[in-house]
Symmetry: C2
Amino acid sequence: MSSILDTFAFAKRIPATPSIGSTTVTKPDHIHLSFGFAAPDLFPIELLSQSAADAVTLYGRKALQYSGSGGPGKVLHWIQQRSLVHGIQADSNQILVTYGSTQGIDLATRILVDPGDHVWVESPSFFSALQAFRTAEAHITSFPIDGDGVRVDLIEEALLEAKRNNRPIPKLFYTMPTYHNPGGVTLSLERRKRLAHLAETYNFFILEDDAYSELNFTGDRYPALYTLIPQRVIYLNTFSKIIGPGLRLGWVIADSRVIEKMRLLNLGGSIGVFTQEILAELLQRLPFQEHIDRLIAHYRRQRDVLAAALRASFGDHVTFHLPEGGFYIWLTFRKDVNTSAFVQAAADLGVSFVDGKSFFVNPEGYHHARLCFSYVNEEQLVRGVQHMADAYFDYIGRTVS
Amino acid sequence: MSSILDTFAFAKRIPATPSIGSTTVTKPDHIHLSFGFAAPDLFPIELLSQSAADAVTLYGRKALQYSGSGGPGKVLHWIQQRSLVHGIQADSNQILVTYGSTQGIDLATRILVDPGDHVWVESPSFFSALQAFRTAEAHITSFPIDGDGVRVDLIEEALLEAKRNNRPIPKLFYTMPTYHNPGGVTLSLERRKRLAHLAETYNFFILEDDAYSELNFTGDRYPALYTLIPQRVIYLNTFSKIIGPGLRLGWVIADSRVIEKMRLLNLGGSIGVFTQEILAELLQRLPFQEHIDRLIAHYRRQRDVLAAALRASFGDHVTFHLPEGGFYIWLTFRKDVNTSAFVQAAADLGVSFVDGKSFFVNPEGYHHARLCFSYVNEEQLVRGVQHMADAYFDYIGRTVS
């Protein structure tokens, strides 16, 4: 059986391996600082249970058909209204509900990128996005971030250089400008404006991943890139961080012609109709701003606990930007540290984190690590950091003289 | 705004237009013989409502995370057990749950087909599959069906010819061997065996779409192609026809290396986790064989009503194969009839059907039409056929002397 299949050629564009390494977990009380998961205690379970039962009872016969009952329309309307709060105006033909924002990334890539086309990304960047670009056989170039987000000045230089030498302009620049995953940084207003200007001048699309923007710990708001240049931005958001990732529902906002192309790739199917019926009922019952305020208070506290634990356990061995929102703290170790070298040792002690290399296009970023403060509780945050520090200092003791 | 976007190049592989035409519907009591929808009265609404409420209450916190609680595992187990009833043995790493079988088609195409690769299909074929192959920039060749399914002898001739002239062998042959959509025919046992032999000899994959096989009106069963040559078949099935399409859940069964490649394209995301939690609860409560028997009895009666209505209204103006299962009757008119020429007139009278051309690779099949007997009730079946006949005879009177 295997001998026959071995002679068969898979499509060239399919990557050989998953984008992110995994460690072996043995302890039952293992602490997952690697998981970018929402805090389960904050899920609106009771309202959701009622919503689920009622959606089926009230709309079940239609809800189970291909196009559903009124649910998808109500979810679309909710997205429109909530977007307005953030200054984003979109007609209904400019919105597409997707299976999480990863499907949004995949669709944007597939409608825009032919093999060999250029995609530019941040360094570090979200691994699932990198995988989508690799699968599309894109030529990927990355630009570093600092405390104010991606270095737009370097992007501008590269564009000028490309134009001067008649080299290709990117089809797409993928960015997470607000509460970056994994970097935790936020793109400054000045850089946002400059980036929007560049997209217009050089005629490329910005793929703006705004998954974390509702989780704003400071009250400071930056305009979405979409509001600065709507015709050059494909905007992505998701219910994963504000309701729950298991729903697998997100959305895209873009020019109606972009949305129309994306719809074609869904082969005529509506997205998660049954889930949308339930979500529509939930959104009607859930006092959304109260819910978000509760999430923000909780995640801000968790961030502070993680930051304090890191300072206590690692001292000046790590630096990090204190994120103003989102889920992640991004650690920078000394240049000669390789976090992949102690990720399994940490797992053996009972904690997992994501080693830096997973977030980079090229073999680099080994001296970084991503910790997520959203999923585990405060006690686990502290204990997890201690385990990680134990693994780190043991590694340091063995490798650095 | 539009002038800027117009200068932007979408990926070449994206089709310009949707795969299936649509008519304008004006009447509130319009009869949709075009929709391949399940009968809404047969949805297990009460059980589903309880299942939804309980799944959230019992497993909500985990059910809303990326990987869910036990639901996906239970659904997988159910698929394994039910497959055994049909002679299909599969390990858990050979099964992938998908967003309906259309995602299965899309994933199979993307892992196998590079631009310019050859895909062979039946003529007629399912339009969403054709769209997936077009999007992958495949070179598509089609082979006619008759009352015993696709003409495997012509496929064999073409393979021989290709080999003799050193021309490309297909990467994929897409087929719906049982209760074909739209043809209503079933591939004979002899042809199944021959096709399996060809796949082995010439080393191509069969993409077996088995969406309708549970809806078996006669009790006669043919082995799935997968059981004849598992290492050369990617098998697709779906909950759409047996529970409800709104769930958007189907599955793929294939060699574990095929499944692994498909997983990579999902960019790490689990499929419809929350819906799977609910479905798992439902499958535990639903006496499945009783449920299927009820569906079969209903759809068989509907088929008979539609067939009788067609004979009464059209006489010898149409021929069709009486399907032994599934949802569809496929009409063949006289060669010079063009069903696209009266599809809007029929819609104006209050009935829609799908005109033949939507199911073909090339501009052909104009003298066919697909009618679906699953969705509307008996009275509507009869009245719909009368409207269609009125539109047809009016068209005939105007065009044929």
